[in-house]
Amino acid sequence: MDDGRIPGLRAFAARVAGVFGSRKRDSDFDEEVQAHLQLLADRFAAQGMSREDAAAAARRQFGNTTMLQEDRRELRTLTSVEDLGRDVRYALRSLGRSRAFTAVAIATLGLGIGASTAIFSVIDNVLLEPFPYKDPGRMVFLRIRDTARGQEGERQGYTSNEFLEFAEQNHVFEGVIAASDDVVLYKQGEGVEQLYGADVTPGTFEFFGMPALYGRVTQPADYQPGAPPVFVMRHKTWMERFNGDPGVLNKTFVLNGRARTLIGIMPPRFGWYEADVLIPESPVRGVSTGFAGLPARWFLLGRLKPGVSKAQAAADATVIANHLARINPQDYPAHFQVLVKRLGDTVVGRFESTLYTILAAVGLLLLIGCGNVANLMLARATSREKEFALRAVLGAGRARLVRLLLVESLVLAISGAALGVLVAWGGLKLIVAAMPQNLIPAESVIELNTPVMVFTLVVAVLTAVIFGLAPALQAARRDLNDPLRDSGKGVINGFRTGRMRDTVVVMEVAVSLTLLIGAGLLMRSFVALREVHLGLQADHVFETQLPLPADRYKTAAHVRGFFQPLLARVKAIPGVVDATESSALPPYGGMDSKMEISGKSHEEEWHTQLQNVSEGYFRVLRIPFKMGRAFREAEINDARKVAVVNETFVSAFLCGEDPIGRRIKLAGLETLADPVSEPWFEIVGVVADVTNQGLERPVEPEVWVPYTVTGSGEQILLVRTQQTPMALMNEVHQAVWATDAGVALAFPGALEDRISQSLYAGPRFGFLLMTIFGCLGLILVTVGVYSVLAYATARKTHEIGIRMALGAERADVFRLVIRAGLRLVTTGVAIGLIVSLLLGRAIEAELWRGVKPYDPATLAGTTVLLLGTAALACWIPAKRAARVDPMVALRYE
């Protein structure tokens, strides 16, 4: 009858409910039973029994109440749940007794889980899914590579004609859009502020598939000639400049002298072109001048049609490029190749490999962590063999024993997991703070990645459970008497610590060494990077870009009319040593220009970096002269066609000849909005090489000419100061506005800070994280080696006692333990060295030139560090073993 066609559902629900409020039910039941007994007894008494007899007879007839209670409890509740509660309490007590073990296990799990989750979250948000746009995977851009020049000869900016050609003639894109730099000046209070703007082509916002957060994005009508001028603002700019004030929407701003209405604010993750403001602009054939009088360059972005590969797109674009090259041969190298790159490649570049290196490191760390936990669990379970045998003898079922261990492992694992979540959360905050902002896409928002967190949690929990359980299963299968009879400390095996534990320790040491070597190499690389000679003194230099309003500054005379008085004013500020104009910011050179030298014929095209400066440039940056002289003030003021070149220029083009007095033609100056006709310049001086391609690439030939020869190009002010450069910010600002109130300071700052930000931040981030992980790994390994040896020593106390009783010296015992430990460590080190050498090629891309993946100093240093730490870990248990009193050890049995 209890077969129940729905055997359990209803009963099960009742049982679940029964877990709660069981006390109340128990007392109810007692009352019921008592009443029943009373009635029975009354009945027997009425039949003439004495009170005691009646009560006894009643109890007899009723049966065993205790057993009844048990039956009821079994029926009423889920016994396993009640037992679970007991098991958890027991596990907590038992873990509480071995605090060191518990703390180490939980900390190890937490660190492993936390660190790997945090790092993978960064990778996912920065590299894998950084863009919030529609189908970002199909967004690509084109680069034209001069096959003769390699990476140096790549171009990704196109004229209006080229853009329209690519957009209209291709067969592989669903849509093509483009953006072009547009420095925007707008009136703000007293003076003028500068924004970094972008002209965007029709269809841009539809292309990205993102609506505006407030207001609207541009519509086709906004691009029509005569349409009211409008623009759209980026969320970050809106927050920083306008404190997120919704009142600015639909207000009119004067941008570059033209009134434009702000029609929309984009959502926070919209970061196309990293532009503060986006201005609708239709590229027109034949219009070739962009901002600052430089040739207009459009950066193209296309969305591949579904199923079109990058190779197909490249082939199609090559056809168009070949056509364009026939029309405008001067814009195309003799031999070129069209590269198709994904949108993500724009920003991340080199930082990508740094992140992947760190991911590998954190994976190794997780491996060490799991190894440690496995070892700890194994050691603990093995040392409790006796306890379990005893429990089994006393009647605990095998399932019950396994469950006990399982619960214990789970309690550990869950505590570790909880810690891991905290570590991941906090670690991510730290990483985001330390992360070089300019190296990751503006669109990426770094947040905790739930699937990854779940994955690492599962891995760590499984490790704990499997290794906690394995010995229990083994113990449960065993003959019960075995462990009880065996002291467990026999001498047959010699001084063994258990093959499984040995393997884990060797693995840990090997992995840890690999990590340490990686960290060491990155550190060496970073130090080497810091020691690179820039060729200039970057300290105490204030820098600011001064974008001049294009409507009033068109010719060289206009520009000179601004800078001559400005430089005089700035030099008069107390604390200023010197000041200069420049068209480029170190450690980068100026524009690229084709070049010829009179009297020299050559097959291939010659290119040089070209920079416009005033006479103070070499003094401000402390660039030494090797030959000839600097510009004279009069030469600058009269816009004489004189030039200074660097040593690389001389060695590349004028090998062994005297450069002074040679005449060179800088063809690039002819293509400017304010062109220089007959751009033949006379070399008057040669300076030492200055980094002009960033730190990573070798110096290229470079030419400096007076800034007064053209009104085109960027305008930058460099000031050498006596005190902290930023202290002069206000005075310089006043000087600029005193010269022209319509000019804004763009990106003012200290040269040294910017160089350190943009060049060192990425490598420093990499080496910092690697070092942290390396140290964590080292600590974990030390704990691992220590715990295994300490455990083995404790187990062998009996054996040691016998050895000592038989005449072994304390020193012998000490050596015995140390040798056992170091045998494991050296095996691990050997494997680790081999693995590091094999993996060397993987990290080579991360290393600064000159640092080899098999750098002997790094290998030796890290090996010694690891051996030293491991020896320390062996030393403590060895010392303890040597202190064993043979009498105590023997009597203990």
């Binding site: 109810d28 009443a35 029943h36 009635l39 009723f62 049966g63 009844l68 029926l75």
Partner: protein
């Protein structure tokens, strides 16, 4: 182990008898049910009256009976059990089942006697 099996059979029949008792007599407390079964079975069944309560709990869990606190004939607080609609249906099914099975068992036993 064997004990458990024996009691299971007994429990099954006990459940049926309790349902039938409640069906016939209306709401009863545990003592009353025990008396009724004692009265009907006379000396055939040796009943540990405590097991009645285990059985009652099982029936309660299946919602075949309902329980309510009330006052017994000697003015004590007592829990009264009554059969539910679901219990009535179950009783009908189980009664038929029982009759069929006991019929089959009876026939089998008779066959053995004849052979």
């Amino acid at each position: 182990m064997t004990d458990a099996k024996k009691s299971e059979v007994l429990q099954g029949t006990l459940d049926l008898m309790i349902l039938k008792t409640l069906h016939a007599l209306g709401p009863q407390h545990g003592f009353g049910i025990a008396r009724r079964i004692e009265q009907v079975s006379r000396d055939v069944l040796q009943l540990n009256e405590g097991t009645v309560y285990t059985s009652l709990l099982r029936l309660l869990q299946q919602r075949w009976i309902a329980a309510e606190w009330g006052t017994s004939e000697n003015n004590r607080r007592a829990k009264f059990y009554s059969i539910t609609a679901r219990g009535e249906k179950q009783l009908a099914v189980e009664t038929e089942n029982w009759q069929r099975i006991s019929g089959v068992v009876g026939r089998v036993l008779r066959l053995e006697e004849e052979s």
